[in-house]
């Protein structure tokens, strides 16, 4: 009889453990999906700001065609990118091109003084921040998820549950700081 209680208790404990692990993983998965849609929103927001910016810059600096073309191209390739990795790379390329475009404004005092340019510049640098921060949240959620399924004893149970590891969005947080463009 005693033996029965022990075995029953052990099975119950195991069931509770698997149950809570499963729910925890599902919650984290949802969090990651949410974080991803947030990144997507911000990437779109940035893409929407670019045509206006290019138009404004054109009005004052017609000769900077190469830089403007590179921004337009980077924007197009980011919009067409499908996989997580491709999107992250295209997004970084766009950040770099945008940084150059905004830097040439230094040579055009009239452009620099233009109200709509100033406004766009503020919005863009804010959107860059938003992309960076939503990405940071996404990656830290992915890290939490992957750590959870990789550590013992969760890893044994996950053999049955079968959650695959999640993919990071491009560069890790440390690398991100290196590519981050500061417009100020």
């Amino acid at each position: 009889m005693n033996m029965l209680y022990v075995v029953g208790g052990a099975i119950l404990l195991l069931a509770v453990y698997i149950w809570s692990l499963y729910n925890g993983l599902v919650a984290l998965k949802t969090q990651i999906e949410e974080a991803w849609s947030q990144i997507d929103v911000q990437l779109k927001r940035r893409a929407d700001l670019i045509p206006n910016l290019v138009q404004t810059v054109k009005g004052y600096a017609k000769h900077e065609k190469t830089i403007m073309d590179s921004v337009t191209r980077a924007r197009a390739s980011m919009l067409s990118a499908k996989s997580l990795d491709a999107k992250a790379k295209a997004s970084d390329a766009l950040s770099g091109a945008l940084g150059k475009l905004l830097a040439i404004a230094e040579n055009y005092p009239q452009l620099k003084a233009n109200d709509s340019f100033i406004q766009l510049q503020k919005e863009l640098s804010d959107t860059e921040d938003k992309v960076a921060y939503s990405r940071q949240y996404f990656n830290s959620s992915v890290l939490e998820f992957n750590t959870k399924i990789r550590t013992f004893p969760n890893t044994l149970v996950n053999e049955i549950l079968g959650f695959p590891e999640k993919e990071f969005f491009g560069a890790t947080a440390e690398e991100r700081k290196a590519v981050k463009v500061n417009f100020e």
Partner: protein, 298 residues
């Protein structure tokens, strides 16, 4: 201590504090009521009063704190940097964007309040927003959002209102003592006299005890909020530089009162109204220099 266990600790501590508060008030009211000769009717009133103020502080603490500071809602166009920085860091922290308010005051400060991330409020002075660079402002806002995410704000809002209530009750007792509200004067035996003395001691002590709890609760939290804020921005230097500027700023924030002091990012009084001999015990915040050193070492 990890962040999650810190959050759980804060939530439990809030309930323990509220329960302890009710118990303390009931006990104090029993002693005071008997000392004054009102008997247990005082206690009944006190129970009702303390339970109600516990609930009020839980649900309306944020609004009351906000009303006390006289702030206006922030506007995306007018307060672009403050508004967007808060949006961005809320993204990074994975919490909804808190309601944002601005105090028109040239002193530099900010505070956060609200019972949970869904009902949070962040408030900054115009002096802070105007004089800090965007990255420095990020540091300060990240510090405030960490208070929200760690549920410090719930505990602090509850403590702010309850400490005020204790002070109010003690004040009432002292007044009614003054007016000599004895109903059954013939019960002037030894027990009555003893109770009177205990009552006076309690009345004097309780606001001090309440204040000390309030301070102890807030000081430890500042270092943790600094650290988790730096984790959000990945740039501790931002907050360190902001703190340096705040430290140099000698202006006193008029909108702050004793009850709301512990909510701010740095002590709004700049140590002006406390005597030096107990400054360590009565400081709502750890020394700024120590905080800057810790941030720079990250």
């Amino acid at each position: 201590m990890t962040i999650t266990s810190q959050i759980r600790g804060n939530i439990t501590r809030t309930y323990v504090f509220m329960a302890g508060f009710v118990a303390f008030v009931v006990f104090a009211a029993y002693v005071m009521g008997n000392a004054l000769g009102y008997g247990n009717s005082w206690m009944a009133i006190a129970v009702l009063f303390s339970v109600i103020s516990s609930f009020v502080s839980y649900y309306y603490g944020a609004d009351m704190v906000l009303a006390m500071s006289g702030a206006r809602p922030a506007d995306r166009k007018r307060d672009f940097d403050l508004f967007t920085v808060t949006e961005n860091l809320a993204l990074a922290a994975g919490i909804p964007k808190p309601k944002l308010y601005v105090i028109e005051d040239t002193a530099m400060n900010a505070f956060a309040t609200g019972r949970d991330p869904e009902h949070a409020v962040v408030c900054a002075t115009t002096g802070l927003v105007d004089r800090l660079e965007r990255r420095e402002l990020e540091g300060v806002i990240a510090h405030e959002l960490s208070h929200i995410k760690n549920f410090d704000t719930r505990l602090m809002a509850v403590v702010a209102v309850l400490a005020g209530t204790v002070a109010f009750l003690a004040d009432m007792f002292m007044r009614s003592l003054w007016w000599g509200g004895h109903r059954d004067r013939d019960r002037n035996d030894n027990l009555g006299g003893l109770l009177l003395i205990v009552g006076v001691i309690l009345a004097v002590l309780s606001p001090i005890v309440a204040t000390l709890i309030q301070l102890a609760v807030s000081r430890r939290r500042e270092f943790l909020a600094d650290a988790s804020g730096a984790y959000l921005t990945r740039y501790p230097e931002g907050l360190a530089r902001a703190l340096e500027k705040l430290h140099k700023d000698k202006e006193v924030l008029e909108a702050a009162t004793n009850a709301t002091a512990h909510l701010y990012v740095t002590n709004p009084f700049k140590g002006k109204n406390f005597g030096a001999w107990f400054s360590g015990l009565f400081d709502t915040h750890p020394p700024i220099k120590e905080r800057i050193r810790t941030l720079r070492a990250m």
